[in-house]
């Protein structure tokens, strides 16, 4: 890194740096990621409808544009033009804040997920799979590169529950409140399982830096070394994103729509967006932690596989996980609430502990 990058002088504003990064690089990355996530949300709703349709031997939306590709746009326009009704007895501030928090927390967590390997601009990359970049500018493929990225992600994804609970509380409606209560109870019990499942790969990699964790998987993905942790994480992630079979907070049959019963128009759309972006985030974490992130599943020495950019593989893996989530949603019925709790506390949590113990023991013995 040259001196100009480090000195935030007025004449040097173009190179004003936040940490090791130049500000406009961060800005560009943020815009790209937010745009990507917003698009992903739109097309995930379409994909969800298509997947569910084909599972039920239907065709799904195909009237708006070719293969229904403009359906999300039509839905978006419809949502914006809907009347924005709100209960008169609501808590005005919280009622307004909750939907924003839903989308915000999910996007926020994505800022620490690397979607491709570091690019060294103006210098050679050194070290294991080009992790460090002593001279030149290190272009990280996450918005803000953190060496404790995983901790940050775990902290931020937990913020999402506030949107659900505040939304449920502020609407002053019994269905909303029940949905909000359920979601907070559910999230608390599954947050532990998520964390414990992720500790396995962390022990193996010896780092909380997601880039380092991915690079450490270049010989063998952690899903093969930690299959139990992967299953635990994926199950808990389903619960954390309130997806079926763990969609208790919005169980239509009992709670109308749970925490967002009293929301309409684009405010409802924001909750929807939160759910889908959360799916992307959770899948991206699973990809980084277990499926080798941007690493190619095929030998890069082959014909052209070395030329496929890392983010293509990353997106492919994320898409696979997203599809699996939809597949599961349209296959499994919703769990009863007490079973959901007992699954979280009596199955996932102990299994996660066992996994940590076994992994830790093996790593300790190998080191010793």
């Amino acid at each position: 890194m040259n001196a100009a990058m480090r000195n935030p002088m007025l004449a040097d504003w173009w190179n004003f740096s936040i940490g090791p990064d130049i500000w406009w690089v961060i800005l560009v990355k943020a815009i790209v990621v937010i745009g990507f996530l917003a698009t992903a949300f739109a097309y995930l709703t379409l994909a969800e409808r298509k997947v569910s349709a084909h599972i039920q031997l239907r065709i799904g939306p195909n009237r708006v544009g070719p293969f229904g590709f403009l359906q999300p746009a039509a839905d978006g326009v419809k949502l914006f033009f809907k009347e924005n009704t709100a209960p008169g007895t609501r808590d005005r501030l919280l009622y307004m804040v909750a939907p924003g928090l839903a989308g915000g927390a999910a996007i926020f967590a994505f800022s620490a997920i690397p979607i491709s390997a570091v690019n060294c601009i103006g210098g050679p990359s050194i070290g294991q799979a080009g992790l460090s970049c002593p001279s030149g500018y290190a272009l990280h493929w996450d918005i803000a590169h953190l060496n404790v990225g995983l901790l940050f992600i775990l902290a931020v994804t937990s913020l999402g529950v506030y949107s659900l609970f505040l939304g449920g509380w502020s609407a002053n409606s019994k269905y909303s409140l029940l949905g909000g209560l359920r979601s907070s109870a559910q999230l608390i019990s599954y947050e532990m399982a998520v964390a414990f499942a992720l500790i396995g790969p962390v022990i193996l990699a010896g780092s909380l830096d997601l880039e380092r964790i991915v690079v450490n998987q270049q010989h063998l993905w952690y899903v093969f070394q930690q299959p139990l942790a992967f299953i635990l994480y994926f199950t808990a992630a389903l619960a954390e994103t309130n997806r079926a079979p763990f969609d208790l907070p919005e169980a239509e049959q009992e709670l109308v729509a749970g925490y967002h019963t009293e929301y309409s128009s684009m405010r409802f759309g924001m909750f929807f967006m939160g759910e889908y972006i959360n799916m992307v985030t959770v899948s991206a974490i699973a990809t980084s932690m277990f499926l080798g992130g941007w690493l190619s599943p095929l030998p890069t020495g082959w014909i052209f596989f070395g030329y496929i950019p890392g983010f293509i593989w990353f997106l492919a893996k994320v898409s696979l996980l997203l599809f699996t989530m939809m597949w599961i949603r349209w296959t499994l019925p919703r769990l009863r609430y007490d079973r959901l709790m007992s699954l979280g506390w009596k199955a996932l949590l102990p299994l996660g502990l066992v996994n940590i113990m076994v992994t830790g023991t093996i790593v300790a013995l190998r080191v010793a």
Binding site: L57, R58, W327, T331
Partner: protein
């Protein structure tokens, strides 16, 4: 538990790989079964004479009274049906019709049957009263008789709606609209009618009830 989950996932995956059974109406049409009871058809004999003899048994059998038959004497020199009389007007109010098929059962000459057409909705009530022009099987050189528009008819209870379209009676209005669109009554080739019928003018026989359906 895992086995059951895997089984369920396998079922849904198999379904996903199967062809959807959705029929994309109106681009794709559902084939009606041969016994489908849709909109009525007034049949002709093979030589083109109308089977309906204007006996009004269908109107009598109709449990909802949706059929109106205006019979008239058959012209001697130019018979329209083989009987003494023929139906000068034949109207069915499809808003009332329950598609029970009693009219077809009551008909002594098998002149009326319920056909395969099921797209019967319309933006205008008046158009749901179908006339002989719509019902009769098409035949080359035979102009379907268009009866006079009288107050009494199958759609008598729907009259007054022409106020929506001042200046034109409903029947006149929609006939004009259809003519403007270039749509006439059913043409040869539809309803399985041969485009080139035999030209022999022999008296119709009961043995061979014609007008191949």
């Amino acid at each position: 538990m895992f086995r059951e989950i895997a089984q369920g996932l396998a079922i849904t995956m198999r379904n996903m790989l199967r062809r959807p059974i959705t029929l994309q109406w109106p681009e794709e049409q559902k084939p009606a079964s041969p016994r489908h009871r849709g909109r009525h058809i007034l049949h002709r004999y093979d030589n083109g004479l109308e089977k309906c003899i204007g006996c009004e048994l269908c109107a009598a059998a109709c449990p909802v009274g949706c059929i109106y038959v205006g019979a008239a004497e058959n012209p001697k020199d130019h018979p329209i049906s083989p009987g003494e009389r023929y139906a000068e007007r034949y109207e069915i109010n499809l808003m009332r019709c329950i598609f029970c098929g009693y009219c077809a059962e009551a008909c002594p000459t098998e002149a009326i049957t319920l056909g395969p057409r099921y797209e019967l909705s319309d933006y205008r009530r008046e158009k749901t009263v179908v006339t002989k022009a719509d019902l009769l099987e098409a035949w080359p050189h035979f102009e379907p008789a268009q009866g006079p528009v009288a107050e009494r008819g199958a759609g008598a209870d729907q009259r007054g709606r022409e106020m929506l379209d001042p200046g034109l009676g409903p029947r006149v209005a929609w006939d004009a609209a259809e003519r403007a669109r270039g749509e006439g009554p059913a043409t040869a080739g539809s309803h399985g009618i041969a485009s080139h019928p035999p030209t022999v003018a022999e008296p119709p026989s009961r043995r061979q009830p014609g007008g191949a359906r």
